[in-house]
């Protein structure tokens, strides 16, 4: 399977030595070293590597990205806060920026801090979870992140804790041929609850390589959002691992609206009876862009439920890739899993690759999957026009309805409204370019 492009090993090794020599904390060094070797062994995927068949990243092997330095940031370029209150941690090029962040008092026992700080203040918890959740073992960029991460968010919710105000994690990247590696760890103990937003933006031709790990223990309830509005010249290759305990509930929104090449690999493991996972994704790609989502949901225990709905809207000469796997392990009877991928092509030059997959190793399950790729319905367009709605507005109305099907279910109102605005603006821009 490993059809990889050789990476300049010396470059990475030397960089790693320089990087680790500058670290304040030696804890976790062994993990970093293992990860570096893992990355070097895996290499950068070529198009002969099955899961990277449609997403060519081989040029990354040739590009010498440098770790991004500190850079001043105009706060106006950051995603807006979710409200007047609530914790907001801002990371610039993968490093915590206290000056741009907003820290407030939290419920007893809840920790929200930078991961680098948590490694010093709460080493036992961090080391128990960091890099230990299953999945993405053969994802080279997750390994690269584990080797090189500088900072990210650490969230710890003790048993029964409720974070009533949503938490916003902002990641801003900048620079030309720079790379940043945000690393986030979210540990939700039994019956805890939180709503979290990861917000990615930037300016430049950078590479963002974030990894987020979420452990939702028994009965935990999490709503997690990842919003990617990267620079149109930027690359984004990210990993997300989620493990869920018994009767836990996780709702995950993955939205990508911009970026030259954006790929997200998600592994959700439903590791306790009755775990419930909802995954919703929306990818908007403009001319020349590629959006790729690789989703893997693993049911390992009985009575789990998972729902996936991923949509793509493709304009100009753009591409999307969806690869969704539902895996039901041998003892995961009574699993109820569904997966749907729907793509709307706004141009004849757009191309959507959709690959829904099922791997079921037990009987007595309910699994479904489906995928559609199509253009705007000419009958619907005509119908709207016969009611006086102009062709341009009719198109926008239909595209908006298609995409808003994902956004309208976001319960976090300020975020939902922001994304509705973003969608409307995008449609307006695209219609203007068409005409």
């Amino acid at each position: 399977m490993t059809a990889a492009v050789l990476v300049p090993q010396d470059h990475y090794r030397q960089d790693f030595e320089r990087f680790t020599a500058g670290l304040k904390e030696s804890a976790g060094l062994a993990l970093r070293r293992t990860a570096l070797e893992r990355f070097l062994a895996l290499g950068v995927p070529s198009s002969r590597w099955e899961s990277w068949r449609f997403t060519d990243v081989s040029t990354l092997a040739k590009t010498r990205f440098s770790r991004a330095g500190d850079a001043p940031v105009d706060p106006a370029r950051l995603p807006p806060p979710l409200g007047d209150t609530g914790q907001r941690l801002v990371f610039v090029n993968g490093r915590y920026s206290p000056g741009l962040s907003r820290v407030e008092s939290l419920p007893k026992g809840v920790i929200v801090s930078s991961l680098e700080e948590a490694l010093r203040t709460h080493p036992a918890v961090v080391e128990a979870y960091l890099g230990r959740l299953p999945g993405l073992e053969d994802h080279p960029f997750t390994a690269l992140n584990t080797a090189f991460w500088e900072d990210g968010a650490f969230v710890y919710l003790p048993r029964g804790a409720m974070l009533e105000v949503p938490l916003q994690l902002v990641f801003f990247a900048s620079g030309e041929q720079t790379v940043n590696y945000p690393r986030n760890l979210i540990v939700a103990e039994e019956a805890s609850q939180a709503t979290i937003v990861e917000d990615y933006r930037g300016m430049g031709a950078y590479l963002s390589c974030p990894v987020t790990e979420i452990d939702a223990a028994d009965g935990a309830v999490l709503e997690h959002h990842r919003i990617q509005e990267e620079d149109p010249r930027a690359w984004h290759l990210s990993g997300l691992r989620l493990r869920q305990g018994r009767d836990s509930q996780a709702t995950l929104y993955l939205l990508s609206s911009s970026g030259l090449l954006v790929r997200t690999d998600v592994v959700a493991r439903l590791d306790g009876e009755g775990a419930d996972c909802t995954l919703n994704g929306l990818t908007l790609v403009a001319d020349g862009q590629l959006g790729d989502q690789h989703i893997r949901v693993e049911h390992t225990k009985p009575h789990g439920t998972s729902r996936q709905l991923f949509k793509g809207v493709l304009a100009g000469k753009s591409r999307t890739v969806f690869d969704g796997m539902i895996q039901v392990h041998q003892n995961a009877s009574k699993t109820d899993a569904s997966q749907s991928n729907r793509n709307l092509l706004l141009s004849r030059r757009a191309l959507a690759n959709s690959n829904p997959r099922l791997e079921i190793l037990t009987d007595d399950v309910k699994c479904s999957h489906g995928s559609t790729i199509g253009f705007l319905d000419p009958d619907a367009l005509f119908y709207l026009r016969t009611r006086g709605i102009g062709a341009t507005q009719a198109r926008a109305l239909l595209v908006y309805a298609f995409a808003n099907d994902i956004i309208e279910h976001i319960r976090l109102r300020p975020l939902r409204e922001r994304l509705e605005g973003l969608l409307a603006e995008r449609l307006y821009t695209e219609e203007r370019q068409r005409s």
Binding site: D379, A380, R385, T386, G388, A391, A394, A401, F402, D405
Partner: protein, 256 residues
């Protein structure tokens, strides 16, 4: 208000309409009857501007304008309405939002400001009562999950809200039970006025018991083979269309 002259229309190279002449004045209700495949729906689609229909000869003038040169949305803004034989489902677009967009598009065309929310709501309430529609319909996506009868009622509801000058009803009666048929007919009858024209396309005579037409035309193989008053519909009901098929030469072509 609508003048069709020597209209020939082809679909994918096959001639469907072979010379239609029809004049409809404001205030008149014309019924177009005929068997399946006679070209009734083609006529409706050409009037509303659907793509895929090639007009090979003839003209349609609407209030002095060349109708065939207009985009579908401009026809609608000028007051033409088509009640679809098969109303289209539009997932994700709710009825209320859709109607508001439609009403305001027409108003903008007339140089009028957008309707304010209160006035619009009042209009909607009043017109909903006309077709006995439940308020819950407004929040549902256009036609999605509607039964056949609900879809047809929704067409009449839209017509009542948009207040067209000229409406084409394309087999609005097909698939309706008698109660739904009465509701639809009541809606149309309420909208009948000296300024408004209707073209009611139907396969069966029964709708015409409730919407009593001023004129009835029989369309066969792309031609109007007979025209007359409302009694013609009754004659058709008793004799069927086969009579015309046998003796096409006897049926006089009449323009009214």
């Amino acid at each position: 208000m609508l003048e069709i002259h020597n209209l020939h229309v082809s679909v994918e190279g096959q001639e469907i309409l072979k010379g239609i002449d029809l004049v409809i004045q404001p205030g008149e209700v014309h019924a177009m009857m005929g068997p399946n495949g006679s070209g009734k729906s083609t006529l409706a689609n050409v009037i509303s501007g659907r793509e895929g229909y090639e007009v090979t000869a003839g003209t349609i003038r609407y209030r002095g304008q060349d109708l065939l040169a207009m985009d579908p949305e401009d026809r609608a803004r000028e007051g033409i309405f088509l009640a679809f034989q098969y109303p289209v489902e539009i997932p994700g677009v709710n009825n209320l939002y859709f109607l508001k967009a439609a009403v305001n598009a027409v108003r903008k065309h007339r140089g009028e400001p957008e309707m304010d929310a209160m006035d619009f709501w009042e209009l909607i309430q009043e017109r909903m009562a006309l077709v006995k529609m439940d308020e819950a319909f407004l929040k549902r996506p256009v036609n999605e999950g509607f039964s056949g009868g609900e879809k047809k009622r929704n067409e009449i509801f839209q017509m009542a809200v948009l207040e067209p000058r000229f409406a084409v009803l394309d087999e609005t009666d097909s698939g309706l039970d008698i109660d739904a048929l009465k509701i639809v007919a009541d809606g149309v009858n309420t909208l009948r006025s000296p300024e408004r024209g209707f073209l009611v396309i139907t396969h069966y005579q029964r709708l015409l018991n409730y919407i009593v037409p001023d004129y009835v035309h029989v369309l066969m193989n792309g031609r109007i083979v007979r025209s007359g008053g409302k009694e013609l519909a009754l004659e058709l009901e008793s004799q069927g269309y086969t009579w015309y098929e046998k003796e096409p030469g006897q049926a006089p072509r009449v323009s009214v």
